[in-house]
Each structure stands twice: as C-alpha cells, then as structure tokens.
C-alpha cells in the first residue's frame, strides 16, 4: 500500500491517464476522472464505452496497464486486490444483481456488515444488538422487512436490486459504485430507487452507471459521458445531452 505523506488530491476518487487493453483492444484509453467527497456522479455512455471496465479497475478486479488510481487522495488502488479495496471502503453493486441466493435476506445483510471479516472473527462471531438494529434499519430503508427470512433467490428482480443496494448500505463504504441500478425496474421502482440513491448520497460518495436518461435526469447530478474508454463530455445532463459529439456517438455518425 502506497501511503503518501500528503494528499495528492482532494478528490475521493481520482483517475488519471488510465490505460488498459485486452489483446490489443483498448478498453480504457487515457481515462481521467475525479469525484469529490460527498459527490454523486452519473456515468453514461454507449455499450462498450468502458463503464464496467472502469469499475473493475477501481475495485481491483482488473489491473490497468498504466495510469494513477487514487482513493481518498492517498491510496494507490492499482496495487491492491478486491478484498483490500473493499476493506478500505469501496462498495460495488453489479450490473446483474448478485446476491447470495441460497441465504436469507437478513443473512445477506449480515454478511455485508462492515464488521470483522477475518476467519477468526467470523468463526467466533456473536451477534450484537447494534448489529441487528443496523440490519433492521437497512431492511426498512430497502422495504424488505417482511421478506427478511425469505431466501434471496426467491425475491423479484427489483427486490434483488434493492437488496444489493441494502448490502452496500450495510457495508457502509465511503464510496459506492452502482452499476445500472434500475435495469429491469418498473417506473415506480425506478423513481423509488432514485429517491433511495439521493438519500444515500447525503452520507456517501456515489458513482452511478446508468443508461436510463430519465433516471439520470431525476438524480440531477453532474454527468460524465464515456466513449471508447475515454471521457467525451462532462457537465449537467442538459449540457451533456446537447453536446454534439455525444449526440453523434449515441445516434451514430
């Protein structure tokens, strides 16, 4: 772990000149991006723009060929693995909802709680009142209190999305990476999710990747548009969606 003497940047997440290629295909090309603490950022971009690869880089799943990825101004994420990065306080929700299907909703949340994650800690774990209160609170936030003892695999698609967001809440990370949270949701659910994310953003830094423009508009935050692994445009949703190059990319040239 590379701890610098002073913060190199005030940003919570700082990417600079990141490159990554797979067998000659440049998935990420000179990508630079900064997220200030407490900010919520929406990332848009066509398929193959490198959105998920970017999240893979931030969470340690993919190592960049070159470039800087700093967390909280001091930690070089490119040298750490997924577990260490999660411990530092970066939570991730996947594009396809991934919950532990054969375990109950509350066990899913219990597993996500940011308590001792060592082998010894879990082997001799005893539940505490504080922990159950936190789980109860999260269950309430994601509206799954009634389903707490159901197996996660039996939940509907939207409920799984929420459970996964709930797991992020239980994990209580400093930075949340949320990949397509409203894919496959009804309009009502989409609206509720936007409200939920805004609520979460009051206490956390959030990065949301989403295709759904209505949803992004509803979030009302700064938008970054990626294309071919690099930043194409950045600004409010109106600025970005009126940008000529963005229109070109989305509508084809």
């Amino acid at each position: 772990m590379n701890v610098m003497d002073t913060r190199a940047t005030s940003a919570m997440l700082y990417l600079d000149g990141v490159h990554v290629s797979f067998d000659g295909f440049h998935a990420i090309n000179n990508l630079s991006l900064a997220l200030e603490p407490g900010e919520m950022r929406a990332i848009i971009g066509p398929n193959g723009a490198g959105k998920t690869t970017m999240m893979d880089i931030i969470t340690g799943k993919t190592k960049p060929d070159e470039g800087t990825v700093l967390f909280d101004g001091v930690t070089d994420l490119t040298r750490l693995d997924e577990t260490r990065i999660a411990e530092l306080g970066i939570g991730r929700k996947f594009q396809k909802p991934t919950v532990f299907e054969s375990q109950t909703v509350q066990d899913n949340l219990l597993l996500a709680l940011n308590v001792d994650h060592s082998v010894k800690g879990t082997l001799f774990w005893r539940g505490s009142r504080a922990e159950s209160e936190r789980i109860d609170k999260v269950l309430e936030t994601i509206r799954l209190t009634d389903a707490r003892n159901r197996l996660a695999g039996s939940l509907s698609h939207g409920q799984k999305q929420w459970l996964e967001i709930g797991m992020l809440l239980a994990q209580d990370p400093k930075l949340l990476l949320v990949d397509e949270p409203v894919a496959g949701m009804t309009d009502v659910e989409t609206h509720l999710t936007a409200e939920l994310l805004k609520e979460i953003n009051k206490t956390h830094t959030v990065m949301v990747v989403e295709h759904d423009m209505t949803f992004v508009r509803e979030l009302g935050v700064k938008v970054t548009c990626l294309h071919e692994g690099t930043v194409l445009a950045e600004g409010t949703i109106d600025q970005v969606s009126s940008n000529e190059r963005v229109i070109e990319v989305y509508l084809g040239r």
Binding site: K61, F100, L110, A112, V119, N149, R150, Q171
Partner: protein, 389 residues
C-alpha cells in the same frame, strides 16, 4: 438472530444422527464382547471391523462435504489426505512390531531390512511414540493441504481446474509411494501390524475399542463441522460457494476462508485414515488412487452435499452396497452400478437423499403452516399471512 427454519429442522436431524452414532458406538462393541458368540444379537468381530471401516469413510465424507457442500471446493484428492493420515498411523504400528518382524530387527521394519536400508530414514524418527504419530496424523495432511491450498487459492484456481490439480496431486503421491526408495514400503505398503498402545490389533477387545473410538471421532468431526457451518463463517463459506467474487467485493479474504476450511478438512480426512489403518490392518499406495477420491465424492453426492448427515449417511449406504454387491454373484456388475450411481445421482437426485428429503419436508411444513395460518386468519380476521419463524 432467530434461527432459520431449515437449520432448525436440520438440528433435529443432527440430534437423531448423533444419537444413533453414539448408540452404535456403545452397543455394537458391547454386543460383540459380552454376548456369547453365535447368539442372535451378537455382532461378529468381522462385522465390527467392517462397520468400523464404514465409520472411517463417513468421517472422510464429512470432510469432503465441508469443503464441497459448503464452500464449493471439489477436491478429487481427498483420498491423499486420508492415506497420509493412514501412513502416519501405519508408521507407528510398524515401529511397534520391533523384533517380532520376520527379520527381527529392533529398529528397522521388515521391508527396510529387505531393501538393504542401513539405518532408519530421518522421517521415520519419532514414530515409535504414539503421541508423535497422532500429531503427525493431523500435521502431515494439514501441512500438505495448507501448502497446496495456499498456492492454489491465492492464485484463484477454482472449479474444475482445482479439481484436476487435486487429482494430479494424489496421482503424483500414488507414483511416489509406489517407489521402494521413497521409504514407505513401496508396492506392499505397511502391514503385518502387531499391536497398538500395547494392545494386540487383532484382538476382539481392541477391535471393539477401535470401533467405539471411530464412532467417537465421527461424533466429534460432526460437531466440529456443525459448529463451523452454523457459525457466521459458515455463512461466508456458502457466500463464497454461491458468488465468490461478490464475497471479495464485500471485503472477505476468500483465499483465507478456503485455506482454513481446506486444511481443517484435510486434518479430518487424516484422522479418518489413521483410524482406518489399524482396523483393516494394511495401508498401501493404492489408497492414493484417484478413483478412490472420486468415489468418496460420490458418497457425499448420494447422501446430499451441503447436509452433514447426508454425507455420513451416503458413505455408509454406498459402502454397504459395495460390500453387498462385490461379495456375491453380482460382483461383475458392481462397477456398472457404481457408474450408474454417479450418473443418476447427478442427473436425477442433485440434492442427494437427505437434501431431497429436507426439501420435501420443508415444503410439507410450509403447506401445513399456510393451512393453519389461513384458518387462524379466518378466525381472527388477520388478513396478512405471516412467515413461520
């Protein structure tokens, strides 16, 4: 935390299982020793030894279920840990023979005299002491599993890749132990044991005691597995089994969990092997054969992976069937049956006997609960049905 329905019903199954094992562990030796030979209720000595073997297999099955059923690690080399435990015990038993061997050498076992060893190889020292051998029964398989797992899990070798390299591991050990210069008796292995802790291994009393001990070991292994899988660590293991990379993103060091449970499992397999050897009277390299390890996996699959009772039950059922079929006219058909068992269980009974039973039981219970709450709702006017807690 309120215990989940499934765990509670399993708990009852576990209690029944432990009671049966304990009863067998007490009653069978007593019947063998106290009742007159030939009487209706007397268990003949050969059956005590045979069942003792099954109990050891049940421990091996538990150890496989712990990693496969709960953590998704399919080891096709667990027979190697079993055999290593067996060899550690075999070495102790060889050293106990002393001057009673064919060549009467007080230090060197017969095969070493035969192969012109001038002195005891360094790794044979200490095995004349029971406590040391007993320690090695745990330590040697544990160390191998630790080193192997450390390398494999850290580089994220998973799924079938892991299965194949565990198979290669036991295959490499098979080749090594076949060699005479490896110092473990080569082809013939270790045999002609005389006594254990001063008791004649052939004596009825010793056999009965070994049987009782095996049952005790099974109970202890079961309790260890049970406490592991019902702790929060057990939930983490299942999380790793179902979504490994998700667990990493939650901050769990997957390789440490796998390493812990793999090593624990190898130690248990070693104990099973150590209890097995004095009861069958021989340990040779064929115990390392890859086929043995895979067969042990099918016991677990038959009984029900992910259910501890199922694993133990599967070991006993399959091995009973094996003894039954291979001793009669049906012997040539046993391999057909075993092969068909592999295919049919994976295709038609993926949850195994106990798993299928549990699922059926839960469903029946849910129906009953729904029926009662519906009738209760009708009486009380409560409209929302509640999940049984």
């Amino acid at each position: 935390m309120t215990p989940h329905m499934l765990t509670r019903s399993l708990d009852r199954g576990a209690t029944i299982f432990l009671a049966i094992v304990a009863a067998c562990g007490i009653l069978i030796p007593l019947s063998n020793l106290l009742l007159p030979a030939g009487s209706f209720l007397q268990v003949p000595t050969y059956l005590v030894a045979l069942w003792g073997k099954y109990v050891c297999y049940a421990i091996l099955a538990l150890s496989i279920d712990l990693i496969w059923g709960y953590c998704g690690i399919l080891s096709l080399g667990h027979g190697a840990f079993f055999a290593l435990g067996g060899y550690a015990m075999g070495m102790y038993l060889m050293r106990q023979i002393g001057t009673r061997g064919v060549y009467g050498n007080p230090i060197l076992p017969d095969f070493m005299v035969f192969l012109n060893y001038s002195k005891l190889p360094w790794y044979w020292h200490g095995f004349d002491m029971f406590w040391f051998a007993a320690l090695m029964v745990l330590f040697v398989p544990g160390l191998l599993a630790f080193c192997f797992g450390w390398l494999a899990f850290r580089s994220r070798v998973t799924g079938v890749y892991l299965s194949i390299i565990t198979q290669a591991m036991t295959y490499a050990l098979l080749l090594a132990f076949f060699r005479n210069d490896f110092g473990f008796g080569g082809n013939n292995g270790l045999t002609d044991f005389k006594d254990i802790l001063g008791f004649n291994v052939q004596a009825e009393g010793t056999r009965a005691a070994l049987f009782a001990l095996s049952c005790l070991a099974l109970i202890l292994s079961f309790l260890i597995c049970r406490s592991v899988v019902s702790s929060k660590l057990g939930k983490v293991l299942i999380a790793i089994r179902d979504a490994e990379s998700r667990s990493r993103f939650l901050g769990y060091r997957v390789e440490s969990y796998k390493l812990f449970v793999f090593t624990l499992s190898a130690c248990m397999a070693g104990v099973a092997g150590a209890l097995y050897v004095p009861q069958v009277g021989i340990i040779n390299p064929s115990e390392f054969a890859p086929g043995n390890s895979i067969e042990a996996v099918i016991w677990v699959a038959v009984g029900g992976r992910g259910t501890l009772v199922g694993a133990a039950l599967g070991a006993v059922v399959v091995n009973y069937a094996k003894t039954f079929f291979t001793s009669g006219m049906l012997a040539p058909y046993w391999l057909f049956m075993l092969g068909a068992l592999f295919i049919l269980v994976t295709l038609l009974l993926p949850k195994g006997i106990v798993g299928t039973f549990n699922a059926w039981w839960d469903q029946a219970k849910e129906k009953r609960a729904a029926a009662t709450s519906a009738s209760a709702a009708a009486e009380d006017g409560v409209t929302e049905p509640k999940m049984a807690e």
